[in-house]
């Protein structure tokens, strides 16, 4: 007799329970705090309507994330394109370099950017010595600095899903397009790009979602003036003890991500985006 459910589920049951207890539990706790601290009610959520600061912080976060996602995916697409068209050893070297940059800690990157692009950094002092600029260019300690740092961090995350999507394309499709008279540009826009769309969507989602939680890079490279949600939550938890506000913002982020995935799922099958079976 067949079991009503696949018996494989029994094997993963303990882990599902773990996920339930250790992952969903704390998330529910955060949601609970957001409607009970300091007093029961929705006053924490009502702050969104009354506080210009909260709205500005959310807007800054959204704006920075969108811009960063766009640049990361465009750069990632170019790199993946170059990688997929490179031959054996060159491709391995490129993949190696990409993974190395993946592993550099965020603090090291942050301080490297300051040394490179800071007020007295390598770039500014070189330009100054060459007489090209008279005052240092303010690359860092502002929103531009945050974007540079974040895009640099996120490019490898964008490359990998796009690279995977490109690898699965049958090269003969492109040849077929050319042989039927399409130009190189036409082939790219009308054949190649649509075929890599799942990779691009996956990369955009991953990059955007990771960006939402960025903390160190905006805190340091923003010079205190680019306040994003993650840092604000941390201040509310650790310094001002307004856990209700912190939990509310965390909940907003969570719902934002879920809403984003829902919208995406209306346009395409999310399982293909995340490399699941194509049906």
């Amino acid at each position: 007799m067949r079991l009503p459910v696949n018996s494989g589920w029994l094997l993963v049951l303990p882990f599902l329970l773990l996920v339930g207890g250790l992952f969903l539990g704390p998330i529910l706790n955060v949601l609970w705090i957001s409607v009970t601290d300091p007093t029961p009610g929705v006053q924490n959520y009502a702050q969104l309507g009354s506080s210009d600061t909260l709205r500005r912080i959310l807007w800054t976060t959204f704006r920075v994330c969108v811009i960063c996602t766009a640049f990361s995916v465009i750069l990632g697409y170019s790199i993946a394109y170059a990688m997929v068209h490179a031959t054996g050893p060159a491709q391995s070297r490129m993949l190696g370099l990409l993974l190395v940059s993946f592993w550099i800690s965020v603090l090291v990157r942050t301080f490297s950017w300051l040394m490179l692009l800071g007020r007295n950094g390598v770039v500014n002092s070189t330009l100054d010595a060459l007489g090209i600029i008279s005052a240092p260019i303010p690359f860092m300690r502002n929103e531009l600095g945050v974007l540079i740092g974040m895009v640099h961090y996120m490019v490898p995350y964008a490359v990998l899903p796009i690279f995977a999507a490109m690898q699965s394309i049958d090269g003969r499709v492109v040849q077929a397009s050319r042989s039927l008279g399409a130009t190189g540009a036409q082939t790219f826009w009308r054949v190649y790009l649509p075929l890599t769309k799942p990779g691009v969507v996956a990369a955009s989602l991953v990059v955007f979602i990771i960006n939402l939680g960025f903390y160190v890079i905006p805190a340091v490279l923003g010079g205190g003036k680019v306040l994003m949600v993650a840092e604000y939550i941390s201040v509310q938890v650790l310094i001002t003890l307004q856990w209700g506000t912190a939990a509310m913002l965390a909940a907003i982020l969570l719902f934002g991500v879920l809403a984003l995935m829902f919208v995406m799922s209306r346009f395409m099958k999310l399982s293909t985006v995340f490399g699941g079976a194509r049906t």
Binding site: P14, L17, L18, G20, G21, L22, G25, P26, D52, T53, R56, I57, T60, L114, G118, R119, N120, R141, A219, V220, G223, G224, K225, V226, L227, Y232, V235, V237, L238, I239, T240, L241, Q242, W243
Partner: protein
């Protein structure tokens, strides 16, 4: 270190879920079994909290060896009780979380006196035993029910001597005057000290600062926002100065001397109108080491401990006897020395303990 903490927290949450009946016994045991090294660290966590020793919760780095040599050595010699450290930084939120979770693993926190006011009020701290600790061995007004100031740090500013050869800035009014003293500035990003500095620049007398007029201070701060960057840690403040990012930078005053030395005197510390901050020892409610911690705090008040802390960390002693015994060359860097005392402001921990949330959030709203 971080991973160990993370695993410990994960397991603790598992344990709580198990206790609350949200997680099945078997799953919890499976979790413990899977994370072999994690259970080891939970045991280590228990060991840290064992009776018969005092665990100091501080900020790591140099402060660990300084506290051990300045206070720990003498304390262990007198009582036989060893001193251990948790260096993860006792921010208010972390202390609250530790006490609320019922798993208190620290005996004494190297915190601020305003933390004593805020967390004392909410029942997260043990009252100090003033039959063991001496109220007279600190600055007037800095021995409170739930915390006592052991050392002082402070907010002062440093300037680039090459940027202002014609006459250096000497006060917060100069610091906030970008017309007379052009160049980028740095301020502390979580309001403390920055608000007081702005008010003094606006002409408020050092002994009339509290209650702080937040709006007035923020007007002054936003007026120079385009020329200001903000730091969140001592090392960031240090880097902004020595890397030449700022012409004038607010610093924690105890770090000023080492920056002067490191830059061969190019950057100079201005102690006029510095804000003295009472660094305080506070005891989380239900601390595992019990009453021994009071003896530890008393040891920290002793003259040799106080002078050693100054030599090691640059933190100014609060014990008047220790201040009197400081060397001549150290006096300018001691925020409450006889020469500095008439020109500095003293932080009011009660105002900050009651208004941190409003002040910090108003400040963040203004600078972001």
């Amino acid at each position: 270190m971080h991973d160990k903490n993370f695993m410990r927290e994960t397991l603790l949450q598992g344990a709580q879920a198990f206790q609350a009946g949200k997680l099945q016994r078997r799953s919890f045991l499976a979790l413990c079994g899977m994370a072999g090294f994690a259970s080891a660290s939970v045991l280590a966590g228990r060991a840290e909290a064992a009776a018969g020793e005092i665990v100091m919760w501080n900020w790591g780095g140099q402060s660990e060896e300084c506290h051990q040599s300045a206070i720990g050595a003498a304390f262990t010699k007198d009582t036989g009780v060893p001193l251990k450290f948790d260096t993860s930084g006792p921010l208010q939120g972390k202390i609250k979380e530790m006490v609320d979770s019922g798993n208190v693993t620290a005996d004494v926190c190297d915190a601020d006196l305003f933390d004593a006011v805020a967390l004392g009020k909410t029942g997260h701290l043990e009252a100090l035993d003033y039959s063991v600790i001496d109220k007279t061995k600190t600055i007037d007004g800095y021995a409170l029910e739930f915390g006592i100031s052991i050392i002082l740090y402070g907010y002062a500013f440093m300037y680039d001597t090459q940027a202002y050869p014609d006459g250096p800035p000497t006060s917060w009014a100069d610091f906030f005057d970008t017309a007379k003293f052009p160049g980028t500035r740095s301020l502390y990003k979580w309001a403390n000290g920055s608000l007081e500095a702005a008010l003094m620049a606006d002409g408020v007398a050092a002994d009339q600062l509290y209650p702080l007029d937040i709006d007035r201070a923020l007007k002054r701060i936003t007026a120079i926002k385009a020329d200001t960057i903000y730091w969140g840690s001592g090392s960031e403040a240090h880097d902004m100065i020595v890397n030449g990012e700022v012409s004038m930078g607010m610093v924690w005053q105890n770090r000023g001397r080492s920056i002067e030395t490191e830059t061969n005197g190019r950057y100079k510390l201005v102690m006029n109108q510095a804000l003295a901050m009472p660094g305080a020892y506070i005891v989380p409610k239900g601390n595992p080491g019990g009453a021994d911690v009071m003896k530890f705090i008393a040891t920290a008040q002793s003259v040799p401990a106080q002078l050693d802390l100054f030599a090691c960390l640059g933190m100014t002693p609060t014990n008047p006897e220790a201040i009197a015994q400081m060397a001549e060359a150290d006096q300018p860097y001691s925020i409450t020395s006889a020469a500095n005392m008439p020109n500095i402001a003293l932080n009011d921990p009660t105002w900050w303990g009651e208004n941190t949330d409003a002040a910090v959030n108003a400040f963040l709203a203004a600078i972001s």
